[in-house]
Symmetry: C2
Subunit: 231 residues, 2 copies
């Protein structure tokens, strides 16, 4: 037991450092969402409520921080989607659910969404991006015969591009029904994958759990996510 206590103690310093880093990343995400990436470092640290010098303890340049901020947001989004679809068998349902929930997230978590939109395109091929995850799911669908496309990769490009464009459209036109739009896009893409039209429509109109509830369940259990300060 004393070992456990010691271990916990040994990690208090690390946690403090991680807190500072997380604060900086959260501030960077806020600025990224507001599309204000050429702010002075002092403004970032003020927003993060840390000393100006702390920035240089964690990052060499602003760009490095913003990069980390985007990767963190993408990792979060990926982990959340995985958690929400892990118990589904049908690849078509996995894809539809991921896509439709992503659409809902754009409205419920506009900051996360904007961060991803801001740089998601250039991260499609990155290991942090949603590309690898989507490619895995599409490939699974092809191998199981559920999807009948010639090659998963072009399909991935379409799906990933559509996901980002959908988010952009939801932000640009808040008056539209975002849920219906997301469902329609998902349905179109399923048909492109080779899912019969009737089935695609049924899958994309099935009821979804509330994103808010899902997020609340998922967030506390996710590893290495910048948490809001528990002041």
């Amino acid at each position: 037991m004393s070992e456990a206590v010691a271990a916990a103690a040994r990690k208090r310093g690390e946690r403090r450092k991680a807190q500072t880093r997380a604060s900086l990343i959260r501030a960077a995400q806020q600025l990224l969402a507001e599309d204000r990436t050429s702010v002075p470092i002092l403004e970032i640290t003020e927003l993060a409520d840390v000393g100006m010098g702390s920035f240089y303890n964690h990052f060499e340049t602003k760009e490095e921080l913003f990069q980390a901020a985007v990767e963190s947001a993408l990792d979060l989004q990926g982990a959340v989607l995985d958690a929400w679809t892990e118990d589904i068998e049908d690849p078509a349902e996995v894809f539809a659910r991921s896509f439709r929930l992503t659409g809902r997230i754009h409205r419920v978590e506009p900051q996360l969404s904007r961060v991803i939109i801001s740089r998601g395109m250039s991260m499609i091929s990155s290991e942090h991006g949603l590309g690898p995850r989507a490619l895995r799911d599409i490939t699974r669908g092809c191998e199981s015969g559920r999807f009948t496309i010639a090659d998963p990769y072009p399909a991935l490009l379409i799906a990933a591009g559509a996901a980002l464009a959908l988010g952009q459209a939801i932000h640009d036109h808040p008056e539209r029904d975002d849920a219906q739009l997301a469902d329609q896009v998902a349905e179109d893409i399923l048909r492109m994958f080779g899912v019969p039209p009737g089935e695609a429509a049924a899958i994309c109109r099935s009821p979804l759990p509330s994103v808010v509830d899902l997020l609340e369940q998922a967030l506390p259990n996710l590893p290495h996510v910048p948490q809001p300060d528990s002041a």
Copy 2:
């Protein structure tokens, strides 16, 4: 006739001013393509080979210049695609040709391509973006019964997102066969539009004119495009 001469003369000043503006826009496009948008204004004017003070004769802020640079690139791309497809009847062929040629442009004109990728997502709904043009073509296809989708708008989002993702992929993975990739993506999207698979495949495998030749023909005739200096 003296009127015509006077008019020509009156415009010499305007042309000189437009030259300076075009130089600035070309410099901005180069920087945009290199993803270096937080450079000092002096560096932009040096690249444009104009005096530092000239910048403020044309733009209030750097962002305003970059905005103009993106709009100029998008207008060019749109005008070129229109010129290349104006005499085609079948909406499916118009779409396929636009999409496949856009894919080729990413490799042939990497700078134009990168500029569009850098901000194309946020310009989908803009009048300068490719969105309105694509929406027009897709709607035409729906009305003529060639496309059987429920709603043109979600389809537009998929096509636009895919076009940008394709460009990104071509830059990220230069070892891939970009022409084949673009053709496959176009084919998948045509099938999504409701074009029978066999037809979609045939349309997207038909031979294409050389983008280089087309560009050479189209460029000199396009209005209000920043031309390279004819030193």
